[in-house]
């Protein structure tokens, strides 16, 4: 018989778990309510989920930075807090998009399970970013991914099933890569705790670098897994199909939240290598991200469907961000969060605008639901909607003073600064590639503006806009204001993010 071991509650520091527990508890609450009461108005679940997310945000704000908890499994540091905030705020903006016009509700939102699964996914993502234990990261990743596959499938069109299966199959393969990478790291260092791994690799010093080949292999495997989730080229191939198959808000959500969670993991994992000055790893990341931003930009150029275009463009944005990750400076790392924070408003807004135009039964076109033609002449039929969409497009192309511009500015200047600090002019080449890519990207975003503002309208304009409801209008209004007025809050936001990132040592 084992001796009873007493572990005091204080030493567990359960507060570090509180945000996830709130999400999980909320999900269970929703399932329970469904258990006892069957015929509740589904709007209530939306409200309940929002309430839970609000509480969750509160709990995240009240976390103390740089604390560990639960046998040191949990790590609440600055990047964990900032990424959790991005995840939660995006979720909070995503959920009310369920409330489409009452004659045009989509059936996935009528299942309480949808909201429960959603909250489980949020919790999984929160776990992913709040730990540096590879196993817990994996558990969080899988919880989130499995829920996400289901959420996609629940949209329940032919396309959404295909999307879910594709995502699932590729996701399983990526999970395999993640596990193999973790195993290699464990085999070479004897630990799955990243801070231990860092210490051990550090202690080997220069002599040990001959054996670096194994951790390097681990990093490559990890890069594949992370590249899948962040959709880096050529691990991105699921992205356009999955976005097209899932509902527009879900696609917008996927272009931000799972990516930011995986980027945090990447930051923790590759941060070890970058701190050790293992250049091979940072070069690999840069190569992948340059290929990502360039090729996906070119592919976005020739898309005929706005949703697919946005899918490719979000791949390209991810490539942008990953390039900064390879630098490992505080400025570069905080610019990543700033970028995603600002990108979130715009991109979610753009997808929400597509969502508004989605008709439940009628598709615009046999192959695509959102071809450019659908939006032609929108300025005369729905001037406000056209202006809002145009603002989102301008912001995405990085034109000041809209939100993404600030992210882009800060990101590129962090690359330039890095090259100044290291005296390596090849990073300037990276900055130039980033700039040129933004210039190319401007072309396809403007294409939509041209369609909306300058082309004559198509006959079936009643197809645009069937989903409009007060809830959607509110969310979109908020998003567009956040995009336009970013000029006023970007400074404090930048201070906040930089403080959090630098305090956690990244």
């Amino acid at each position: 018989m084992l001796e009873p071991i007493s572990v005091s509650l204080e030493s567990l520091n359960l507060i570090t778990l509180s945000p996830m527990l709130i999400a999980i508890g909320g999900a269970l609450l929703i399932l329970l309510i469904d258990l006892f009461k069957d015929n509740l108005d589904k709007t209530m679940y939306v409200m309940l989920t929002m309430l839970i997310l609000f509480i969750d945000i509160g709990a995240t704000f009240s976390l103390n930075i740089n604390e560990r908890g639960f046998f040191d499994l949990m790590l609440v540091d600055g990047i964990s807090v900032v990424s959790q905030l991005i995840i939660l705020v995006t979720s909070l903006l995503f959920i009310p998009l369920a409330l489409t016009a009452s004659n045009n509700r989509f059936h996935e939102y009528s299942y309480p399970e949808y909201f429960a699964l959603f909250l489980f996914m949020v919790a999984g993502l929160q776990f992913m970013v709040s730990t540096d234990n590879l196993i817990l990261i994996f558990v969080g990743l899988e919880t989130a991914s499995l829920s996400l596959y289901t959420l996609i499938a629940m949209h329940n069109t032919k396309g959404s099933h295909e999307a879910a299966i594709k995502y699932f199959t590729m996701g399983a393969m990526a999970a395999g890569f993640f596990l193999m990478g973790s195993v290699v790291v464990y085999a070479t260092t004897g630990s799955v705790e990243l801070y231990e791994v860092a210490k051990i690799l550090q202690s080997q010093g220069v002599d040990g670098l001959s054996s670096i080949i194994a951790p390097l292999g681990g990093a490559v495997l990890m890069l594949v897994a992370i590249g899948f989730k962040v959709s880096l080229f050529p691990f991105h191939m699921w992205t356009p199909d999955v976005y097209e198959g899932s509902s527009a808000p879900m696609a917008g959500y996927m272009s931000i939240v799972p990516k930011i969670a995986m980027i945090v993991v990447a930051m923790r994992f590759f941060g070890i290598y970058i701190n050790l000055n293992i250049e091979a790893v940072s070069y690999l990341i840069i190569i992948v991200s340059v290929i990502t931003m360039t090729l996906s930009n070119m592919m976005a150029l020739v898309q005929k469907d706005v949703k697919r275009m946005l899918a490719y463009s979000s791949i390209s944005h991810a490539g942008f961000v990953m390039a900064a990750l390879a630098l490992g400076t505080t400025k570069a790392n905080s610019s990543i969060f700033l970028y995603y924070g600002l990108f979130m408003f715009t991109n979610l807004g753009a997808f929400a605008m597509l969502w508004i135009s989605r008709h439940k039964a009628k598709r615009f076109h046999g192959r695509y639901d959102h071809p450019y033609e659908k939006f032609s002449g929108m300025i005369s039929a729905h001037p406000i909607a056209a202006v809002i969409m145009a603002i989102f497009m301008l912001s995405l192309s990085g034109i000041p003073p809209f939100s993404v511009f600030w992210g882009k500015l800060y990101l590129i200047s962090s690359v330039v600064d890095f090259s100044a600090a290291t005296g390596e002019s090849k990073y300037i080449v990276l900055a130039i590639i980033m700039v040129l890519n933004s210039a190319v990207a401007a072309y396809y975003y403007l294409k939509l503006i041209v369609y909306m503002f300058l082309k004559p309208p198509v006959n079936e304009l009643n197809l645009v806009y069937t989903n409009k409801s007060l809830a959607l209008a509110t969310v979109i209004g908020f998003l567009v204001m956040a995009t336009i007025l970013s000029i006023f809050y970007v400074q404090p936001l930048m201070e906040f993010v930089t403080y959090l990132v630098s305090s956690s040592g990244y």
Partner: protein, 944 residues
């Protein structure tokens, strides 16, 4: 004077604010919109003028506030000679353009919107020229692109406006992004984004290795904006805009922004060979191309557009020459060009307004109808041609002088003055064409409208410009001498060169060139028919837009090619890429570091028998897989490989590993078998040889990669590292018993997590199965039909007898769970097997009619009970999920040990039963369609 401390931001922001005022005013009355716009402009001038005196004293006024410091962005403005000149140009011409526009716009046009756009554009332009911080400058720069897009597309119903607006926005906005890159690098070289710092650091910048990169990026931005070769094609296409817009944007202000930037950064970037070659060369090229094309344009505004391109080229070329005097000439020509070209655009607009056409082939003899307009046109186009006594002449003289100066002492460079003269000749020719074909000659009969004299409101601005042209032409030193002085001084950031503004410099070479240009120009115009023919035959087909289109087409073709390669929507294809690129990444990474692949740890001995066994097994199964077409059999054969590996483990004395490998292998195969149900039984024969070879190649490659990688890991000694970890984990990890703690006391926590995940997975599978249809198999793969009795009597009878026994066993396992192997999980599985057997033996409809429990409910209850059990302990003051223990004596079962955890176990039990049944029944139902066909109707009725 307090307000003077932030008067510069006010000047810039006032027009933006004014845009709102104008929009509001237009609701009341459309004419109010025009007047309020004029009022706003005057107010801005008033704000600016008190500072002018200080600027004339040579002071540079900087008003700066910190804004986004981390990005180097300050809300900082700068007023010196150069920026004041441009600000006055923007405001002054803006004033006249608004006045003109008030009469120009027809009653159908939305005046409020138009003037709001104009004011927004004005504000952005002011921002560009008054910015002290270069990032701020870029922001305003992009804003001018946006607002100009709105203005150009003002008449959206026109097809050409669409194309023009899109092209101009595309080119200039993309150029702006390049500029952003250049500015960031410039700031990083200097260490500050403030112009005052940057302007002082010319030497540092020029000697920096990144100088050329910076220069090119900034020039791309500037040239795109100023429509310089090779970006010159967008300007003529933007001419679809209303005329006041063309006059304002495309002659006076926006296209000058690029030139402004060159003049602004002149002290930093100029003075190198690169600068001379790129800027001077592109300037001269643009000058010639623009002038040449202008001559053949039949659209009045097209002609003016290309002439603008050419004049901008002239200014660029002057800046490119790089001497101080050239800068004087450049800035002087900016002033002059702004005056005569704005007037000419307005005249073109007036003609269009009155006659309804701008086509020179239709127009003619308008002097009869609109004499005042005609006279003004004579004056201003003479200024454009460079006729003496007018302002254009003076700056053109200076240009010719500088072109001679730059070629001094170099034989090949004497081509520069020759080219300059050719440019002047062409300028004369198109100026004559403008006047002659519109106002002189025979009155045409094709004119859509009977023209009248231009309204006075439109004539006044034109008249003012024409007066300026004459006054500056006659008394240059008096009119603009002082202004030019401070403008040049602030552009150069150095002492003024010696120059003289005067009409008459004596008979010299430039004068001769000017005269030649006037005469030859007239001759060229006279022989235009022959020239047109030559032009049509050889040159017309050459068009820069064509190359732009070609470039775009190529880019698109490449993009389509890439999309076709990578966007196939095929999973197979996607996974091939994932595998291949991970191999590639690994190889690249390996090449980058200097480490041997194989480490120095000695390998174990291997006897021949083992080797042969292993290789033999693998080889045999490989052949089986390749030859066999039946998927299920192939899959089982794949399992051989795993078995071979576990044999290997046994051989190397690791039976536990062997067992693990064995069970993992079997479970994996079974899971895969389940998945196989959904795909056809047989593998189709792959006929594509290329594909087969590709797949074989990729498999071998990835196998080799994994082998190499495994070798690399296994041949290195890691024991030292593990020791290090063990030493560290005691002080670092909080005790060696960490694992124990988790296992013993907090197991419950894990389990709660596990059942939650299980519940999620169950719901997920359930949701996924919902819309699914399974293929119906009436025959097995060898062609025998399935038995038509799905529920044999013996089995269903037996199963009903067994059911209570199985449930009893489940309860027994559940109860003893805390001390002996068992518990909620196992018991749940047993119970669900018991129920599943009923489904199997008696059919879904039969069982469901008797088992009415809702599985969703069951899962929910399970989770609830488990959570409550955990929370319960918290109420008593213990941590979450702590258990208390008690002993009870029950008959038969004996002494049982009831922990509060038993409630928790019950939750686990319910979740397991719920999830298992939900999934299995869900899968079973998929076959129900098939089943219902073979069942008789009676049973279906029973189910309903």
């Amino acid at each position: 004077m307090d307000i003077m401390l932030f008067s510069l931001p006010i000047v810039v922001l006032l027009p933006f604010f004014g845009a709102i005022v104008v929009a509001l005013a237009s609701i009341a009355n459309r004419i109010y919109a025009a007047w309020s716009a004029i009022g706003i402009t005057v107010l801005s001038i008033a704000c600016l003028s008190p500072l002018a005196a200080r600027v004339f004293d040579g002071e540079t006024i900087i008003q700066s506030w910190a804004w986004i410091e981390r990005a180097g962005l300050f809300f900082a403005f700068r007023l010196d000679g150069l920026s004041m000149f441009f600000a006055l140009l923007i405001l002054g011409i803006g004033f006249l353009v608004i006045l003109y526009g008030r009469y120009y716009l027809s009653s159908k046009d939305h005046m409020g919107r138009f003037f709001a756009y104009i004011l927004m554009f004005m504000g952005s332009m002011l921002g560009v020229v008054l910015s002290e911080n270069v990032i701020l400058l870029v922001i305003f720069w992009e804003l001018t692109s946006l607002t100009s897009f709105l203005l150009i597309s003002f008449w959206q119903h026109k097809n050409e406006a669409r194309e023009g607006a899109r092209m101009s926005l595309g080119v200039t906005a993309a150029g702006g992004l390049a500029l952003l890159g250049g500015v960031l690098i410039l700031g990083h070289i200097v260490g500050s984004y403030e112009l005052s710092e940057i302007l002082k650091s010319g030497d540092i910048v020029r000697e920096h290795p990144l100088y050329l990169t910076t220069l090119i990026l900034i020039l791309i931005g500037a040239f795109a904006k100023s429509a310089q070769f090779p970006f010159h094609f967008w300007l003529p296409h933007a001419m679809a805009a209303p005329t006041p817009v063309s006059a304002y944007l495309h002659s006076a202000t926006m296209v000058k922004a690029g030139i402004f930037l060159l003049a602004r950064l002149f002290p930093v970037l100029s003075g190198t060979q690169e600068w001379l070659w790129i800027v001077g060369g592109i300037g001269m090229t643009t000058l010639l191309i623009g002038a040449y094309t202008a001559m053949f344009k039949t659209d009045l505004k097209g002609l003016l557009a290309y002439s603008t391109v050419s004049h901008l080229g002239l200014i660029t070329a002057l800046l490119g020459f790089g001497s101080k005097l050239a800068v004087v000439a450049a800035l002087f020509h900016i002033m002059n060009h702004a005056a005569f070209k704005a007037a000419l655009f307005m005249i073109a607009g007036a003609v269009d307004h009155e006659t309804g056409t701008r086509d020179t082939r239709k127009l003619g003899g308008l002097i009869k109808y609109m004499p005042i307009t005609a006279i003004l046109a004579f004056i201003t186009s003479a200024a454009m041609a460079g006729v003496p006594m007018l302002n254009g002449f003076l700056s053109k003289e200076m240009f010719l002088t500088e072109s001679l100066a730059v070629s001094e002492g170099l034989l090949w460079a004497s081509i520069v003055p020759i080219l300059a003269t050719i440019g002047s000749i062409l300028a004369v020719a198109y100026s004559i064409k403008f006047v002659k074909e519109v106002f002189l000659g025979e009155a045409s009969k094709d004119i859509p409208k009977i023209p009248h004299e231009t309204p006075y409101g439109m004539l006044v601005p034109i008249g003012i410009f024409a007066t300026i042209c004459i006054a500056v032409g006659l008394f240059p030193a008096f009119m603009v001498g002082d202004l030019l002085g401070i403008v040049v001084a602030s552009s150069l950031q150095a002492t003024l060169p010696k120059y003289e503004l005067a009409l008459w410099h004596g008979v010299n070479l430039p004068l001769m060139m000017s005269m030649t240009a006037l005469i030859v120009g007239a001759v060229v115009y006279a022989s235009r028919t022959r020239l047109y023919r030559l032009h049509q035959r050889y040159i017309e087909s050459i068009n820069a837009k064509q190359y732009y289109d070609m470039l775009i087409d190529e880019l698109f073709a490449l993009s389509i090619y890439i999309s076709r390669k990578f966007d196939k929507g095929s999973l197979q294809h996607a996974s091939v890429w994932v595998i291949v690129s991970s191999i590639a990444l690994g190889t690249i990474g390996f090449c980058m570091i200097e480490a041997p692949l194989i480490g120095d740890r000695s390998m174990l001995d291997l006897d021949l028998v083992t080797l042969l066994m292993g290789v033999g097994l693998i080889f045999v199964s490989l052949i089986m897989i390749v030859i066999h077409r039946q998927r299920i059999v192939s899959l089982v054969v794949v399992g051989f490989v795993g078995l071979a590996i576990s044999l290997g483990f046994v051989k190397f004395s690791a039976p536990d590993l062997a067992l693990t490998q064995l069970s993992v292998e079997i479970v994996t195969i079974i899971l895969l078998l389940l998945a196989l149900y959904f795909i056809p039984k047989n593998t189709p024969i792959e006929h594509n040889k290329k594909r087969i070879y590709r797949d074989i190649f990729i498999s071998l490659l990835s196998g080799a990669g994994i082998t190499a990688f495994t070798m690399a890991i296994l041949t290195r000694d890691f024991s030292s590292i593990s020791n290090f970890f063990l030493e560290q984990s005691v002080p670092g990890g909080g005790g060696t018993n960490v694992v124990n703690v988790i296992l013993v006391d907090f197991r419950g926590f894990d389990t709660l997590g596990e059942i939650s995940v299980l519940a999620i997975a169950g719901l997920g599978i359930f949701a996924m199965l919902k819309g699914m249809r399974l293929p119906e198999y009436t025959k097995n793969c060898s062609g025998l039909s399935w038995s038509d009795d799905p529920h044999p009597m013996i089995m269903s009878t037996l199963s009903r007898v067994l059911f209570p026994l199985m449930l009893m066993f489940a309860v027994f396992i559940f109860m003893r769970g805390h001390n002996l192997p068992g518990g909620g999980f196992i018991a749940g599985l047993i119970a669900s097997i018991a129920i599943t057997v009923q489904y199997l033996a008696n059919g879904i409809s039969w069982t469901q009619a008797r088992l009415k429990a809702n599985m969703h409910m069951m899962i929910g209850f399970g989770l609830l009970i488990a959570t409550l059990a955990g929370i319960g302990s918290m109420f008593v003051g213990y941590p979450f999920l702590t258990s208390t223990v008690g002993h009870f004596d029950l008959p038969i079962v004996g002494n049982i040990h009831v922990a509060s955890a038993i409630a928790f176990d019950l939750g686990v039990f319910l979740v397991v039963v719920g999830v298992t049944l939900m999934i299995l029944v869900g899968i079973g139902k998929l076959g129900a369609v098939a089943e219902s066909k073979s069942l008789d109707n009676k049973e279906i009725e029973e189910g309903a």
